[in-house]
């Protein structure tokens, strides 16, 4: 049967996340810190809007680009948050999660042979989506000493005459890194000089702690060449609703809509109605969730420091990326050993790229009680390791 399938797909590496999921699923009584979605349920008023839409019979297709009302709200929201003005009729489209937006953006911009630069460690989908769209992936390995921020030098060294686009993703999964205005400004020079397109995945844009999120698209000249991707999954705890959006130059968006209309038709209608409510009345919910995440971030960072696990201080998203190299094990060995001995699941860093080897991703999208228990077990594990070595 395999010989009948696409070689390109067969040759793609299976997801490290999926592999680890299968292992964790077999172990009972696990505290899993391996989840990349909020622990909050969608705020009730948003769920109610979805329920009302269902009850009101809103079960038909919407326009391919999405409900007009929703695109209007996205435009207003984006203007408020990052300063850019996107025309809801031509420069905004609603997608099935940020995931679909990433996929169709790449399919829209890649010609065979184009190189797409992307950062690692990063969300697992960039590399496979580049490959599926017949692009050539060029990974830049981010460094903890740079706070996992992309530097101008790194970008310059990765560019060739085949470079078409750069994918950046901040706040970042799995490191929790952010890019500040001066960091992005340095990249803008390089991007413009080399006429690159940018795909900016900003799905965690509301989850920054103490520093306002800055979009690369807000720099002069960048709006035209940047596809900004955002959504409702992380900011509004709407992962299961499968709703995101892309914004950019009208020409690019209209071609993306073409791909979208053939593959998807439209994003889920009920989700779109709920999302209107989220954008109109969800600001307080965002603030409350952000405050909760921030409290947990502080707690977890304090504990990791106390346990002497070197970790870069994340300023966004809800992940920590501690360094476990001192234990002399690979990330996978460490994760599996911790799972078996103390029933705590963390994700091996190499699931996010080869340079993630030696690190683990811990998600703090959990209640304080669960985090405390997890920390207690991790502490047991570490103390046990020290005792064994003595």
């Amino acid at each position: 049967m395999k010989e009948m399938l696409s070689k390109k797909i067969l040759e793609m590496k299976p997801s490290g996340i999926r592999k680890f999921f299968d292992v964790v699923n077999e172990v009972p009584g696990v505290i899993s810190l391996g989840v990349g979605e909020p622990d909050f349920e969608t705020p009730y008023h948003i769920r109610e809007a979805g329920i009302q839409a269902l009850q009101g019979g809103k079960t038909f297709y919407t326009s391919n680009s999405g409900l007009q009302n929703l695109r209007n709200e996205i435009s207003i929201y984006t203007n408020k948050k990052i300063g850019n003005q996107y025309d809801p009729n031509t420069e905004v489209m609603v997608t099935v999660g940020g995931s679909e937006a990433i996929d169709i953006a790449l399919r829209t911009i890649i010609n065979p042979g184009d190189e797409i630069i992307y950062i690692e460690p990063s969300f697992v989908s960039y590399l496979p989506c580049i490959l599926m769209a017949d692009g050539i992936p060029v990974a830049i390995e981010l460094k903890p000493e740079n706070k996992f921020r992309l530097t101008k030098d790194q970008l310059e060294n990765a560019i060739t005459e085949k470079s078409k686009a750069l994918i950046i993703s901040y706040p970042n999964n799995p490191t929790g890194a952010i890019m500040e205005e001066e960091d992005l400004r340095e990249l803008v020079e390089v991007i413009e000089k080399n006429n690159l397109l940018v795909i900016s995945d900003e799905i965690y844009s509301e989850l920054t702690y103490g520093k306002k999120h800055v979009s690369i698209a807000s720099f002069s000249g960048m709006k035209e060449r940047t596809i900004v991707i955002n959504g409702f999954s992380k900011n509004f705890a709407m992962t299961g609703w499968r709703l995101g959006y892309a914004m950019g130059n009208a020409e690019i968006i209209s071609q993306m809509v073409k791909v979208h209309q053939y593959a998807i038709m439209c994003a889920p209608t009920i989700s779109q109605y709920a999302a209107v409510e989220a954008l109109q009345n969800g600001e307080e919910d965002i603030c409350n969730m952000r405050e909760s995440y921030n409290q947990r971030r502080r707690y977890l960072y304090h504990e990791l420091s106390r346990l002497e696990l070197p970790c870069f201080l994340p300023e966004g998203a809800f992940y920590m990326f501690p360094d476990i190299r001192k234990f002399g094990m690979t990330s996978e060995e460490f994760a599996i050993d911790l799972l078996n001995k103390e029933k705590v699941a963390v994700v091996p860093g190499n699931a996010f790229g080869d340079c993630g080897e030696g690190f683990i991703r811990i998600s703090y999208a959990y209640s304080i009680s669960e985090l405390k228990e997890a920390v207690r077990r991790i502490e047991n594990y570490i103390m046990d390791k020290h005792t064994t070595e003595l």
């Binding site: 964790v24 391996g34 502080r298």
Partner: protein, 175 residues
């Protein structure tokens, strides 16, 4: 490396005090150290704030929410509506002082609307509560009328869902 080079050590800002109250309202098991880390404030400031809030009566007590029905059959709760004729300008306050002394009275509110006081009364069984209402509450001079409603099932109390904890609905590992 400390998470913040300069923690707030002076009197806590109002916003942080509200955050503190929200945290301990949901989880009184958090230690002062936990709170200090989570709110990025020195432990002494947390301690001082809590002491002050206790003195001012903003923090009135530390309560554990028990779902008694799960462990005993001898716990019945009723909500009793009282219509009263208060005497004098501070009639309601005087009446409230009297009613809240009873240990059976767990909650006492003055209400707007069709009745004056809402009293939550607990007892071992319905008869005991009925006797308390008729013998003690109804017999107060100012009380004109009582209406007793027995609680049959509790679903949610003080923000806590009383149903058995749902098993985690999230997938164990996701990107």
């Amino acid at each position: 490396m400390s998470i913040s080079q300069k923690k707030e050590n002076v009197q806590m800002q109002k916003e942080k005090i509200l955050s503190l109250l929200r945290l301990i309202e949901q989880n009184s098991g958090l230690s002062e150290l936990d709170l200090s880390i989570m709110l990025d404030v020195e432990t002494q400031a947390i301690h001082d704030a809590i002491s002050a809030l206790e003195k001012e009566g903003v923090i009135c007590g530390y309560h554990t929410l028990i779902y008694w029905d799960k462990i005993t059959d001898n716990d019945v709760t009723a909500l009793v509506e009282l219509r009263v004729t208060p005497q004098g300008g501070d009639g309601y306050e005087k009446l409230a002082e009297k009613i809240k002394e009873y240990p059976q009275v767990k909650t006492l509110y003055l209400m707007s609307g069709a009745y004056d006081f809402l009293v939550m009364v607990t007892g071992q069984n319905m008869k005991e509560i009925a006797l308390f209402v008729s013998g003690k509450l109804a017999s107060i001079n100012e009380v004109q009328n009582t209406t007793t409603h027995f609680i049959l099932t509790k679903y949610k109390e003080l923000g806590f869902d009383l149903e058995a904890k749902k098993a985690g609905e999230r997938m164990v590992v996701t990107p």
